[in-house]
């Protein structure tokens, strides 16, 4: 053996490691796994679907027909699902994260910014595009806006309406009514959950927890958040989403919605009122006690469903810093207080047209219902990770989290001393939990925010993490004898080193 000289200098900045692919290799991993002829055909079909949809925005003759409809968005998303199948077909079952932090789309590169801007723009149009009538008045000179602004609004509105109209055959079939913007949104949302759900099923085909969970969110989105609400309309029942509850679907327990449902002819509306009350006040505590908040957040909820499918490529972008955790705790519980105050104010002042209560309603709808959950929640997927809304804003998640932290059998168990602190679990936690901080100490992970997606356990290379339901006391977490006190303390303290 030749004696190894002591290194006496360093010529690198380790903090720069991992930001780019190793340079100069003859074949990049993507080149090695080129999609092949079938893959290019699938990519072509995606392009064809996008083109067909775009042509309908340009008022092509097939607009508004079944051929036009099917050759548009369903073709594009269906071909995407086929493309995912072709891409994963050649890989062995297991964790496939090579190059995640080198990819433009998955590491906040140009593509990610473009996707983020595109998604954000879509939500802005969806929520706040003025009505056609309002735009016509502006065009007529009311308020003297700039011509460029009027022109932009007008053409955005025209294209948006044509996009909506292109779905008329499906909307009429399901609900007996032509499509509106929420039908367009629901169709896109459902197609995204299904196509990217297929991707998730393929990516985690070695892990049956992920398979069952992904099938669950796909079924709940397609059935309960798309088909059933539209079929209800066809039968002249109120459009009702049986998988969204107060306070996520905040107006379901507002006096206006309750009285509307209650006064709907037939028993359906009354059933819906009781369903909503039972979901919020019975199912939420009981199911969370047995299974943790995951029963809702990563198995049923539509927001969670989109995050777990379309959002999966971005889960590594959530911030794991303690400062992000601090912001999270103030923000999410702040939103919970906001929605409770709004709801109570509306009930207390019902019938008296209180400007304070209706102002709270409007501001909550604008700030939280639209801006936070939609524009930021989904629009920022490619930049801040897939669970921004669920982590920082969702009042339903806040309630489920309090129950999960204090009164639940759920925990993530860590496996003795096997952790070697690699950090895969923390990196791929979409909720920004520093899972490793618990795993390396051999402590259970009991956190209000954990949605139980199970990806930390899946990516662990040493078999350290397992989602489990067990006794609420004993070794669930340090301080489990006084869960509420410990929870309140944890709102203001950071993690222990």
């Amino acid at each position: 053996m030749t004696p190894r000289p002591l290194p006496i200098a360093y010529d690198f900045d380790e903090e720069a490691f991992g930001f780019g692919a190793p340079q100069g290799t003859p074949e990049s991993p993507s080149a090695a796994e080129a999609p092949g002829a079938a893959g290019y055909a699938a990519l072509g079909a995606i392009a064809l679907g996008v083109l067909s949809f775009a042509a309908q925005l340009a008022d092509a003759p097939h607009a508004g027909t079944w051929i036009g409809l099917l050759s548009g968005l369903p073709l594009a998303f269906g071909a995407a699902a086929v493309y995912f199948w072709l891409s994963y077909r050649g890989t062995t079952p297991g964790i496939k994260h090579d190059g995640i932090f080198f990819g433009s789309m998955t590491a906040r590169g140009t593509l990610a910014w473009a996707a983020g801007l595109g998604l954000t723009a879509f939500y802005v149009v969806l929520y706040w595009l003025p009505s056609a009538g309002r735009i016509a008045k502006l065009e007529a000179g009311e308020g003297i806006p700039s011509q460029a602004r009027v022109w932009t609004l007008k053409w955005t509105s025209v294209l948006f309406e044509r996009g909506i109209d292109s779905l008329d055959p499906l909307a009429t079939l399901l609900s007996g009514k032509p499509a509106d913007k929420w039908f367009l949104y629901g169709t896109l949302y459902t197609l995204a959950v299904l196509a990217f759900g297929v991707r998730m099923l393929l990516k985690y085909r070695h892990n049956r927890y992920q398979i069952v969970r992904t099938l669950s969110v796909m079924v709940f989105q397609l059935g309960f958040a798309f088909l059933i609400p539209n079929l209800l309309k066809a039968f002249r029942y109120p459009e009702y989403y049986f998988t969204y509850f107060w306070p996520l679907k905040y107006d379901y327990l507002f006096p206006s919605s309750v009285s509307y449902l209650w006064n709907t002819p037939g028993g359906m509306g009354v059933f819906m009122v009781f369903w909503g009350l039972a979901a919020t006040f019975v199912a939420t505590p009981v199911l969370t006690y047995f299974f943790g908040k995951r029963w809702y957040c990563s198995w049923v909820c539509g927001c969670g469903g989109l995050a777990e499918t379309l959002g999966d490529p971005y889960r590594q972008l959530s911030s794991k810093s303690t400062s992000a955790w601090r912001i999270e705790r103030w923000l999410i519980h702040g939103v919970l207080v906001f929605v409770v105050v709004t709801t109570v104010a509306l009930w207390v002042t019902r019938g008296s047209k209180s400007p304070v209560a209706s102002g709270l309603y409007q501001w909550y709808g604008f700030l939280i219902g639209a801006a936070f959950s939609g524009v930021i929640g989904v629009g920022f997927y490619p930049l801040m990770g897939s669970r921004v809304w669920c982590r920082f804003g969702c009042p339903m998640a806040a309630i489920l989290g309090i129950f999960q932290r204090c009164f639940s059998r759920f925990r993530i168990t860590t496996n003795g001393g096997q952790c070697m602190s690699c950090g895969n679990c923390s990196t791929y936690c979409e909720m920004g939990i520093d899972v490793r901080a618990y795993a390396e100490k051999g402590e259970n992970v009991v956190r209000a925010s954990c949605v139980g997606c199970g990806v930390c356990a899946a990516v662990c290379p040493r078999g350290v993490l397992k989602l489990e339901n067990g006794p609420t006391h004993g070794d669930r977490f340090a301080g489990s004898e006084n869960p509420v006190g410990t929870f309140l303390d944890s709102l203001t303290s950071g993690p222990k080193v």
């Binding site: 002591l6 991992g18 927890y209 496996n415 602190s421 199970g454």
Partner: protein
């Protein structure tokens, strides 16, 4: 009191945090030339492959160290002066200490192969090696990896991930066969080949040759075969870093020799982690922690040594032993001499997609007096071995199955019978919910091999 810690690997940083926890007042300085902040060495491969960036591999946020009042010094220590209690650094003022912890880690073994110092030849241990790999992989189409252990298969996976063709030379007849029993070794061997690695068994490196550009160009094997390559990875185990002890009274063997309290031959100087060789001579067979000495095993990467020598010192070079030694040595440094208890051996690894866990004693070869049972799933991707001796289970090897550490450990220490273990196997299961259960098949297959009857 000023404690200086040389090295910020897991033994060093664990000791630093434990010192602060036990003593709010002592001054702690942690010195490393490798990195400013501690990071997780086993995660190097994930940085290279793009699963994580370097910053994600740090177990603690940067501000932790200031909050814990642990001074970090980015420098290489060039000399230890135990008489003056002073460290000389490659730049800047020397550092005086009251107590010194050497946690200097180890480096890749080389065995005097001709050409081993050529540009393009490297090991894989720390950030210098990662930096070298970024440089060496540029323009490389083919690589040769020498040495069939855990680091070799990691390096193979890393290079394969960036499209470099890997030829993996293993001296033995099967992969890692000095640690893994035949069936486990065969399973991993199949998997490495299925992944597209050119695994050459019974093949030894003879010489590394320079190409026309002065960098590595090809290697020859002892069978005289020539393999073209632009990169050579030497992964035949690691060796403790003892260089700092040269010219000091600190005694060294293969590593820095320490007693059970992890103190070296010089008062006030301690060593922990990969670099520490713990002398247990004269103490055998005194049990530590209540369980028999034979349930201990050396760390992966230690060269094979005769059994009589094996009993005298303990060289453990895995992550968790570094952590345990760091926790132990902090107490010794603070004047509460604490014996290092290696506990019951366990380890884990991942070979491409295949996870491996081991608990207790599973030798590569059957030992006298042992009975062993092996179950393998028909598709070949899962396996479980249970070893028993004198009517008690002594070890587990799990391939593609996750087992619960504390349950396996308890069963071994409680000397549970094979029949009991097979009947309660589900308690040790750690696979995700909804995973297919194999316990009945495992019990049915293992019971006859272990010579027991199992009631379903």
């Amino acid at each position: 009191m000023h404690v200086a810690i040389v090295g910020n690997g897991v033994a060093g940083f664990t000791a630093a945090l434990e010192l602060r926890r036990l003593d709010p007042d002592c001054r702690i300085t942690m010195i490393s030339g490798e990195s400013t902040y501690p990071y997780s060495r086993p995660a190097l491969m994930y940085v290279f492959m793009g699963h994580m960036r370097y910053q994600e591999t740090k177990p603690f946020e940067d501000r932790t160290w200031a909050e814990q009042r642990i001074e970090l010094r980015r420098a290489w220590v060039t000399k230890v002066d135990t008489a003056a209690k002073r460290l000389e650094l490659h730049e800047g003022e020397p550092l005086s200490y009251d107590k010194l912890l050497l946690a200097t880690g180890s480096h890749s073994n080389t065995f005097g192969w001709p050409g081993q110092d050529l540009p393009g030849v490297q090991g894989l241990y720390g950030l210098m090696d990662l930096k070298a790999l970024y440089d060496n992989v540029q323009g490389a189409k083919q690589a040769v990896i020498v040495g069939g252990g855990l680091i070799g298969v990691e390096l193979a996976e890393m290079l394969h991930a960036v499209g470099v063709h890997v030829t993996f030379l293993v001296r033995e007849a099967s992969y890692w066969s000095n640690v893994l029993p035949a069936e486990e070794s065969a399973m991993v061997t199949r998997l490495i080949r299925a992944a597209g690695i050119d695994l050459r068994l019974n093949t030894e490196l003879a010489e590394i040759h320079a190409g026309p550009n002065g960098r590595v160009g090809w290697v020859t094997t002892k069978a005289g075969e020539r393999i073209d390559c632009q990169l050579v990875g030497l992964t035949a185990g690691v060796r403790p870093n003892t260089q700092l002890c040269e010219g000091t009274p600190i005694e060294t063997g293969r590593g820095i020799l320490v007693d059970r309290h992890l103190e070296t031959s010089v008062d006030g100087v301690y060593a922990a982690g990969d670099c520490a060789e713990i002398v247990t001579e004269g103490e055998r067979p005194r049990p530590v922690g209540g369980e028999p000495e034979r349930l201990r095993r050396e760390g992966e990467g230690a060269p094979e040594r005769p059994p009589e020598e094996r009993a005298r010192t303990l060289l453990q070079q895995v992550w968790y032993t570094g952590k345990a030694q760091g926790q132990c040595v902090a107490k010794s440094i603070l004047g509460q001499p604490t014996e290092y208890d290696p506990g019951l051996w366990y380890n884990s690894a991942k070979f491409f997609d295949l996870e491996y866990q081991t608990y207790g004693f599973v030798h590569a070869e059957p030992q006298a007096g042992e009975t062993r049972g092996w179950w393998e799933h028909p598709d070949g991707g899962l396996g479980l071995r249970i070893v028993a001796e004198d009517g008690a289970v002594t070890g587990f090897n799990a391939m593609g199955l996750r087992l619960r550490h504390r349950v396996c450990e308890r069963w071994i220490l409680e000397r549970r019978s094979p029949a009991y273990v097979l009947e309660h196997l589900a308690e040790a299961g750690f696979d995700p919910e909804f995973a297919r259960r194999h316990e009945p098949a495992i019990a049915a297959a293992l019971a006859p091999q272990l010579g027991v009857e199992v009631t379903a």
